[in-house]
């Protein structure tokens, strides 16, 4: 991988923060955008902008082609069988809420089970918690191992014939752990349940094939994978999506509107009421092109190597506590410095031009499990280098000295 070339593709990285060249280590929150994505959105607005699926005019056709082309691109990128299985959403949060609000109540009654983990991001946690409260279903948790991993055995012991929905992230946004989705999907299916996979942190970093993984539903956020904010997608098996009712009503999602009744379009239009996020979809398509140009295998290899380097460098710092397993497949390293609060860590790192996240990372239940109120988190992406990790490590040492 040509690190120099990649870094040059991201204009934002070429700046100084507080007198130091920017080191951006907060990609799990949102990734930076390559020039190709920024240009694609600009080009769309300068040349092709129109509403989709409506206009007979040329711009209307161009916009529609761009939007539906993006759907096809997403479908291929994650290995969906057909483009109709991709519903564009605002992001992973909206996608997961759509499944919980529409599919959830249609299959759950009192006594049924929803199985999740304590490690889920709030967006893959609260929708199920609230759905359980609404339907009288029981919310169950696959117990975590000491190092924060989820084993197939633990999943096997938790999922039962009463389980209707299993919801789990492919990759944890706090510990970078990759969960054994394929095996958990098998267990879910054996018990007649569906599996909903939160792909916000996996899609940017790993090659994903939803069919091979056995996902019934899979979600992604564009902004975490070099695309713009405000666009994401829900993948659902066609038969499942067909069985679901819309939860938002409005323009373009209808078949026929009568005074007292209405009927809906086929999927995915049924779930895309209102003018869709056209420019967002165009940007997402450009992001996928960019990631594929670099190569997902290449990105995964780069991050794995860099994550190992980061684990090695950071674990040598006295008084650092790194959470999660020693081996990382995805570059998320969550840690605390002894006697220095993570906010203070993040503020001092920022004064050295190093951007990390501090807080609970939208994972309060996991923070409780770790028995901390918050942590600092450095998260990597394809544009990070060993020099960035070196800068982080030396800034951390200086942070320690500053507060000593």
């Amino acid at each position: 991988m040509n690190s120099q070339w990649i870094k040059e593709q991201f204009p934002i990285l070429n700046q100084e923060i507080n007198g130091h060249p920017l080191v951006y280590l907060d990609s799990a929150a949102t990734s930076q955008k390559p020039r190709a994505v920024i240009d694609a959105i600009k080009h769309y607005y300068e040349w092709d902008n129109a509403n989709v699926h409506r206009g007979v005019h040329t711009l209307g056709s161009r916009a529609t082609d761009a939007y539906e082309g993006a759907r096809e691109k997403v479908a291929k990128f994650i290995g969906a069988k057909r483009p109709e299985e991709i519903v564009f959403t605002r992001g992973t949060t909206t996608a997961l809420n759509l499944v919980a609000s529409s599919y959830g109540p249609s299959v759950l009654s009192e006594g049924d089970e929803i199985v999740i983990t304590q490690m889920e991001h709030h967006s893959n946690f609260i929708p199920w918690q609230q759905l359980a409260l609404r339907t009288g279903a029981t919310l169950k948790f696959i117990p975590l191992e000491q190092d924060g991993t989820v084993t197939v055995e633990a999943a096997e012991a938790t999922i039962t014939s009463a389980t209707k929905i299993v919801a789990i992230a492919y990759v944890s946004n706090v510990m970078g752990v990759v969960h054994p989705i394929k095996q958990i999907a098998d267990i879910a299916h054996r018990h007649g349940a569906v599996i909903v996979v939160d792909g916000a942190q996996s899609t940017p970093h790993l090659k994903v094939d939803v069919q091979e993984l056995g996902c019934d539903f899979y979600t992604l956020s564009g902004h975490k994978m070099c695309g713009p904010t405000g666009i994401g997608a829900l993948y659902g098996k066609k038969a499942l999506l067909d069985s679901m009712s819309p939860i938002e009503f409005g323009g373009e999602m209808i078949d026929d509107v009568g005074l007292y009744e209405s009927t809906w379009k086929d999927v995915p239009a049924r779930f895309e009421g209102g003018t869709p996020i056209i420019a967002g979809a165009v940007g997402l398509a450009a992001a996928i092109d960019f990631l594929q140009e670099v190569g997902m295998d290449e990105i995964e290899r780069h991050e794995r190597t860099l994550a190992a380097y980061a684990m090695d460098r950071l674990s040598q710092i006295d008084g650092i506590n790194i959470y999660g397993p020693n081996e990382r497949h995805v570059g998320v390293v969550t840690f605390n410095l002894l006697d220095v609060h993570p906010h203070d860590v993040a503020t001092v790192l920022d004064s050295f031009g190093v951007a990390v996240r501090a807080g609970h990372h939208c994972c309060q239940p996991l923070m409780r499990w770790l028995n901390v109120s918050s942590t600092a988190r450095a998260s990597l992406y394809l544009y990070n280098t060993e020099q960035d990790i070196d800068r982080l490590a030396s800034a951390l040492v200086q942070t320690k000295e500053y507060f000593a």
């Binding site: 906010h343 503020t347 807080g359 109120s373 918050s374 500053y402 507060f403």
Partner: protein, 141 residues
């Protein structure tokens, strides 16, 4: 590092490492539990209010140096003050966070937190304890 030094003045680190009024009262008090949901800081503030005066104040909680030192200073500053004087202090503290020139005549330690206004992301850390104070006094009305 000068801006950093402005943020983390010695007086702040002293309150952080040796917090004043940290702990709990055994008897009846006004208790306010407040979280900063974006970052996980939390404070539990207890106020002894009698005859329109803040007789005593204690706090427990967890958070960064800014939020905990601010809580320590706040409890020191408002002890013995009339309720409206305490609220006036809270207003003055808000002005301080906006970067305005403010002096705290009988509790100058608070002025050390003036550097926080250069760090917008940290202002909510500094104001957590003061928001708890306002809630506690309002609740008592």
């Amino acid at each position: 590092m000068t801006q950093l030094d402005d943020l983390y003045r010695r007086v702040i680190m002293d309150h952080y490492k040796n917090p004043r009024n940290r702990g709990k009262f055994d008897d009846d008090t006004v208790t306010v539990d407040l979280n900063n949901p974006t970052c996980g800081d939390r404070i539990s503030l207890q106020l002894k209010l009698a005859d329109g005066i803040v007789e005593d104040a204690r706090f427990t909680g967890e958070g960064c140096s800014i939020s905990m030192s601010s809580a320590s200073m706040m409890t020191e500053a408002v002890k013995g003050k009339k309720l409206d004087e305490a609220l006036e202090f809270a207003d003055k503290f808000s002005s301080l966070m906006k970067g305005e020139e403010v002096t705290f005549d009988d509790y100058e330690d608070l002025e050390a937190l003036s550097g926080v206004n250069k760090f917008p992301a940290r202002i909510k850390c500094a104001t957590l304890a003061w928001n708890a104070l306002r809630k506690g006094i309002d609740h008592n009305d």
